[in-house]
Symmetry: C2
Subunit: 347 residues, 2 copies
């Protein structure tokens, strides 16, 4: 039980033992062998330090070594399943390496992002990970100028190493799952699968859309442009889109591919008002994961990004920086919906 009554320094310890501060320093930070300190001396120092409740002043060390043991992670928000999963994995990974994770949410505000990067740099953080920033290029340019190692996660940034989910692969698998659970005998015009949400101009969305189209074409020979409703990520837009689609088709389509959890939530807001029987006729998939998805009365396939793997890979890119910036992809995980058979039918 350490009792750090008052700040202890290596000078205090040195005095107690009757040795010099440099010897104490070496003994405590593990370089004593290299400095040829006698094992017994080192042990005595370490023992005393322990019972005095000494702990290094990391600011002093950091000042001298120009490092800090802090690693940063910038993300848009905390209260989001994916980002909190990412925070979790990042924390575990950083702690395992003896680093202190500093996770900062910047609300997708480029100004806040830059301010944060600068602040973190002022603390001499050792590395920076960036997930879902609004202004990636600016961040990357800044880090490069400051020679701060950095890697983007879940977001490709030109000129910097990035590790992202294989969105195309995920979209294909999700689409396939939706196809496999299509209810038989649904008449036109309700017999098709629609992708809702996302923004075709963004890298992430475009890959997902490509995957969706590819899989639809592979199974049905073609994919009508109308089947891709990239209305953005705003819930209101998604809600409006599904409503319009419902009216246009005279009911729900045979399948729905929700392009993100927000979109899915919006859809759900609409679906939950419908009679159960109607619900049961649709085959759904969501490109994102939430445990509640498994607890709905509608079966939903979900794609979950491998957050742990993303973080690990990002760290690897950091540890052994490639010659040129690299874009690494990680395949996501499919959480297939519980089989319909297991559910008690309505009524």
């Amino acid at each position: 039980m350490p009792k750090p009554t008052q700040k202890q320094t290596i000078y205090d310890i040195a005095q107690q033992i009757g040795t010099s501060p440099s010897t104490v320093s070496a003994a405590l930070n593990g370089t004593w062998k290299a400095r040829r300190i006698k094992a017994e001396t080192a042990e005595r120092i370490i023992a005393l330090a322990g019972q005095m409740g000494y702990s290094v002043n990391l600011q002093a060390r950091g000042l001298r070594t120009a490092r800090s043991g802090l690693v940063g992670l910038i993300l848009p928000e905390h209260n989001n399943r994916f980002f909190s999963d990412l925070s979790q994995s990042f924390t575990l990974e950083a702690r395992a390496r003896g680093q202190i994770p500093v996770i900062i949410a910047t609300q997708r505000d480029p100004k806040a992002e830059m301010q944060t990067v600068q602040d973190l740099l002022a603390y001499s953080i050792d590395a920076l990970f960036v997930a879902g920033a609004a202004g990636p290029q600016q961040i990357s340019a800044f880090c490069q100028a400051a020679e701060l190692p950095h890697v983007f996660i879940d977001q490709p940034c030109p000129g910097a190493s990035s590790v992202i989910t294989d969105n195309e692969d995920g979209a294909r698998r999700l689409t396939r799952a939706i196809i496999e659970t299509l209810q038989p005998a649904i008449a036109p015009p309700r017999d098709r699968i629609y992708l809702i949400g996302g923004d075709g101009r963004l890298h992430v969305s475009s890959r997902r859309i490509a995957g969706f189209r590819a899989e639809i074409e592979a199974h049905f020979g073609q994919c009508d442009d109308a089947q891709v409703i990239a209305c953005g990520y705003a819930p209101e837009m998604a809600l409006a889109s599904i409503r319009a689609l419902y009216d246009q088709l005279g009911g729900l389509p045979a399948g729905i591919f929700a392009n993100s959890i927000n979109v899915f939530e919006a859809l759900l807001r609409f679906l939950v008002e419908l009679p159960e029987a109607e619900l049961q006729s649709v085959s759904m998939g969501c490109f994102d994961y939430d445990p509640y998805g498994e607890l709905l009365r509608v079966p939903v396939h979900m794609i979950r990004q491998r957050h742990r793997q993303l973080v690990r890979t990002a760290y690897e890119l950091m540890d052994q920086p490639p010659e040129h910036p690299e874009l690494v992809t990680v395949k996501p995980e499919l959480y297939p919906a519980p089989a319909r058979a297991a559910r008690v039918p309505a009524q």
Copy 2:
């Protein structure tokens, strides 16, 4: 656009301007008036610093001032709605004060908690907030010894200031809401409301249970001990409990009070397998919030802790430490279930 080509120091600036480092320091950290630096000199320095892309070395400043601008928040995990809400609020509050929030998840592991506290202390953090720690007393003792200001959030710790949700009040309001949406004409033994989950030995649970009982007694004259099933927070236990209750009663009870989101999830796992009609007969409440709660086919009342308020209050306790440790409560928010009338009945 700052371009920090290479690390700049106040010495570099001093040389460029032809002044001393101390003057530069004063000009840049705002103490120049107190040090009677000419306004023009200060401006010149500030301008040059800006165009050189200078930024203070916070480790150096921290070493000198024995502060750091870092504030810690310890919590059990990131991927939990409440804690991520808390992280969010904490980040905003800290950033607004010009501090860097350092949020660390310690998995409810007392060892990891202590290790983290020590690490943070080694960085000379200015303050520590603790939410949901497994070993609060140990943490508090350590902080006291190190004279580190600290406040507990959502968890009372003897001997330290704490700000927690008014669990009794929340439980009463939640219970009242459940009572108000009870379906008419449910025959015994299924006509009662049950609280499921939690641990009566914990402060938080005991207050909730007290609130539940009080409100039940106020409405029904008495509360049977059997109506409180404090089976812990483990999902498996909750699942087993609801199953046993279902078997015992020959159906669902009239009302269910889920004592936490985990418990609620477990219940849902059971409920989702039941026919819709049965579901519609139960009035539910959950002491925790998740947006998905609003999207279920079962109406659910939810209690949400005011995370923003908790953080603000905690900061106030930190800013103006009371003579003796104080326990402040914050009333939570009730998210009533959408009215049943708005829902299309099954079939």
